[in-house]
């Protein structure tokens, strides 16, 4: 026992006073799960964390202010003009704007950046490809006009607001052509190098990315807005929320990004810590796959909408991490519908099912086996049972669930959808448009995945896409949302909310509605 006591005392002495220094004053330390990053090349980055990093490393021609997403703002383009036919937009580049390398931002860089997205054909390419751009025509569609102007042409007469909104997304990032071309390997347009390095004009430059460990970005003092207030941001990979909480409480982290409801409840009243909630663009839903005959009856879809305890899940189970939202376009965005006509009403659901003569229905529902899906699924299973629908839960990993969803092999699916760019078309296409329901034409849309092909709504979605009057266009999307709410084989249930815990001395952090809009340029530590 003497030996044991000696060992314990020696261990304690060895580590006494070894506590770490708190995060330095000019460095922001963020505890976050970052193991989703695949690449930091804006032509390839399509995961949550890589989107956030890329948005801090690169500027776009047009951009959103995370604090006010109603308006699209000038970015590297200080102004733009739209041709009479609406098919060509000419951007005037901001004079004096420079990349972090010191190279000036030129029209050639814009042409190069858009071209490499199309030619490389990585995951985000479809956002620019929807303009009718491809490897063959891209040289004609994006052109230098003068030393300070670049013009883009789209193949069809889409609404200019749609085009501008899409250019404000990640693949619209402008890359320093000279730097990228210095690092080309096997004709990859710098893809391999840009996956781990940056060549942008954004507020920060990439110092290092160590997969599964950390991403470190440093202030770009060349930025046209001036240098950011903080010198360095460290995104530390901390997968476990409880560990994030401990780091925040001990001051080793300034921001904890992935705390669950329990951790948020535990830290929100602690001295020196504040919790802020930001509405997110992702909407959650429960869908039925019409490949199965037993699920084709619209009465089932309607009854299901009354067999979900929306308020109970949002307020009791998820405690602020979701809010009730039942339209496909998230609230806070222009054109969103915030009506919530459905609430838990078992009697009404039973009545609907009885009138349609639906009895003894059993449905397998796939779901990702992690929070918040588990909590939501269990609640829905319980309320569905009250209405006479037996829901069998089939949990799986995210990749497993999506593999099945993509192959349309599910019966019911509990999932979420986040817009790819800040235009209602992004979600209208997902929830109201499907003109080719063939198995041989796979689409990522919720409509195709659930084998629902609404001809009339598809036509209306198309009409809204080409409507040039912005106010009328938004009205068209409102009408679409209300139609989908009533007619679709799914129930849209919640809109995600990011609950972020910060040290009280952190000021100026804004978590925009998408990861593209998590910007660190205004963050300071007092």
């Amino acid at each position: 026992m003497k030996i044991l006591r000696f060992l314990l005392a020696a261990t304690a002495l060895a580590f006494a006073g070894a506590a770490e220094a708190k995060s330095p004053p000019n460095v922001l330390v963020v505890a976050k799960n970052i193991d989703d990053i695949v690449s930091l090349d804006p032509a390839q980055a399509y995961e949550f964390t890589s989107g956030e990093v890329v948005s801090n490393l690169y500027d776009r021609l047009v951009e959103y202010n995370p604090a006010d997403i109603e308006k699209l703002m000038p970015g590297l383009a200080e102004s733009w003009t739209i041709a009479e036919d609406g098919k060509t937009i000419t951007f005037k580049l901001r004079s004096g704007a420079k990349f972090a390398s010191g190279n000036p931002v030129r029209p050639e860089d814009v042409v190069f950046s858009f071209k490499r997205v199309i030619v490389l054909k990585k995951a985000p390419a479809f956002i620019l490809a929807q303009f009718g751009w491809n490897s063959e025509n891209i040289d004609q569609m994006v052109k230098k006009v003068s030393d300070s102007e670049v013009a883009i042409t789209i193949a069809e007469n889409f609404a200019p607001s749609f085009v501008l909104n899409a250019l404000g997304a990640r693949p619209g990032s402008i890359v320093d052509e000279k730097e990228a071309l210095k690092n080309v390997k096997d004709n990859d347009l710098g893809n391999a190098w840009l996956s781990r390095n940056s060549a942008g004009s954004g507020s920060f430059t990439l110092r290092t990315w160590r997969p599964g460990e950390a991403v470190v970005i440093e202030a770009n003092k060349n930025h046209y807005r001036g240098a950011p207030k903080i010198n360095q941001v460290v995104l530390n990979h901390v997968a476990e929320p409880s560990t994030q909480r401990l780091m925040l409480e001990s001051g080793d982290a300034d921001i904890a990004r992935n705390l669950g409801p329990d951790q948020i409840a535990a830290v929100k009243d602690k001295a020196g810590i504040k919790v802020e909630t930001y509405p997110q663009a992702a909407v959650h839903f429960l869908s039925f796959n019409l490949k199965h005959d037993k699920l084709k009856n619209p009465a089932i879809w309607e009854a299901a909408r009354y067999l979900i305890d929306y308020e109970g899940i949002a307020n009791q189970l998820l405690r602020g991490q979701m809010k009730v939202h039942q339209a496909f376009w998230p609230s806070g965005f222009p054109g969103a519908v915030t009506d919530t006509p459905f609430k838990l009403d078992v009697a009404k659901a039973k009545d609907i099912l009885a009138k349609a003569n639906v009895q003894g229905l059993a449905v397998d529902m796939d779901m990702i086996s992690s929070a918040p899906f588990t909590e939501i699924a269990q609640s829905i299973q319980s309320t569905m049972a009250q209405g006479g629908i037996k829901l069998n839960l089939i949990p799986g990993t995210s990749a497993q669930v999506i593999t099945k969803y993509r192959a349309r092999q599910h019966e019911a699916m509990l999932l979420y959808w986040g817009p790819d760019f800040m235009d209602p078309h992004s979600n209208a296409k997902a929830f109201a448009y499907n003109v080719d329901n063939a198995d041989t034409s796979p689409q990522s849309t919720t409509t195709w995945r659930n084998s629902w092909a609404p001809a009339e709504l598809s036509a209306k979605t198309r009409a809204a896409l080409v409507e040039r009057d912005p106010a009328k266009r938004l009205d068209m999307y409102r009408e679409l949302q209300r139609s989908v709410m009533k007619e679709a084989p799914w129930a849209i249930t919640f809109q995600a909310q990011a609950q972020v815990a910060l040290r009280a001395e952190v000021k100026g952090f804004i978590h925009g509605p998408t990861n593209d809009l998590v910007l660190y340029r205004d963050v300071a530590k007092n």
């Binding site: 580590f15 995951a123 460990e213 950390a214 799986g396 593999t403």
Partner: protein
Amino acid sequence: MRGFATGAMRAASGLATLLVTLAGLLLVTFVIGRVMPIDPVVAAIGDKASQETYLKAREELGLDRPIWVQFGRYIEGVAKGDLGYSSASGRPVAEDIARVFPATLELSTLAILIGVLAGVPLGVYAAHRRNRWPDHVIRSISLVGYSTPIFWLGLIGLLVFYAKLGWVGGPGRISNAYRYSVDEWSGLMLVDTLRSGDWDAFESAVSHIALPALLLGYFSLAYIGRMTRSFMIEELGKEYVTTARMKGASEAQVLWRHALPNVLVPVVTVVALAFGYLLEGTVLTETVFSWPGLGLYITNSLFSADMPAVLGGTLVVGLCFVALNKLAEIAYPLLDPRTRTP
């Protein structure tokens, strides 16, 4: 000459066994990976990529070829020292493993040292005091180590020693302040910080590895201590021990000079197994302590059906087990003359 020929035969036989073992391991892992209900292309490019991008990625990953061709090409690559590219990240698997394995090796080595240095003496002492209170205490310590979820114990350890007392560093391998000032020479943080001569960085590395190493060491201790106790109890019941006692040998001599050397062969086997399991990676510990090790790498790769990464990790784990077995085999004759072959 005859001895040389016998040695060469043994070496060739050992090498053949190693190659067959590894090939079998890879084949089983490959088949498991292919029957998993996860599409590696979707895992690599996400859910929303166009069909054109999907088909391009599928072709780039070689998944459009028959399975046996895929496996054949993989084995051919491995034979040339190429572990391929991770389908999820696009990075060379060898590079990924070179990054994560040293983290696991460093942690596991410290943990097994703690497990052996504390577990063996505790096991011997417990056997000596069988069914008395020291034995009960040591068995209870082992039982707690065996039955407590390591995830929970890790969090409690962090809460007490990091968040409350501030005795140890937090998650990760080193403080952010030193992370980029230390040259990555070996990948072993303790070695690299020592080599750099930066004592503050070394202290930070020690304070970060202390808690996970003690925790894993405790779990190894529980296993090694329990097994050592069991071996020793059996040994202490043998006649030669009674004879030694009758001849007036002290209890310490009986334990450490007579009985312990006779149980070292099974103890070494147990230690090799425990070390192997540690090197395989301890996913939950790595998760709680944000320790970028091999276990977490293989698990994450498996969830995204990233077979080149899973196969590369499996190969390394397989090699570790084979190497540890071989080391144990080499140790046996040194520890017990009866196991020497003529």
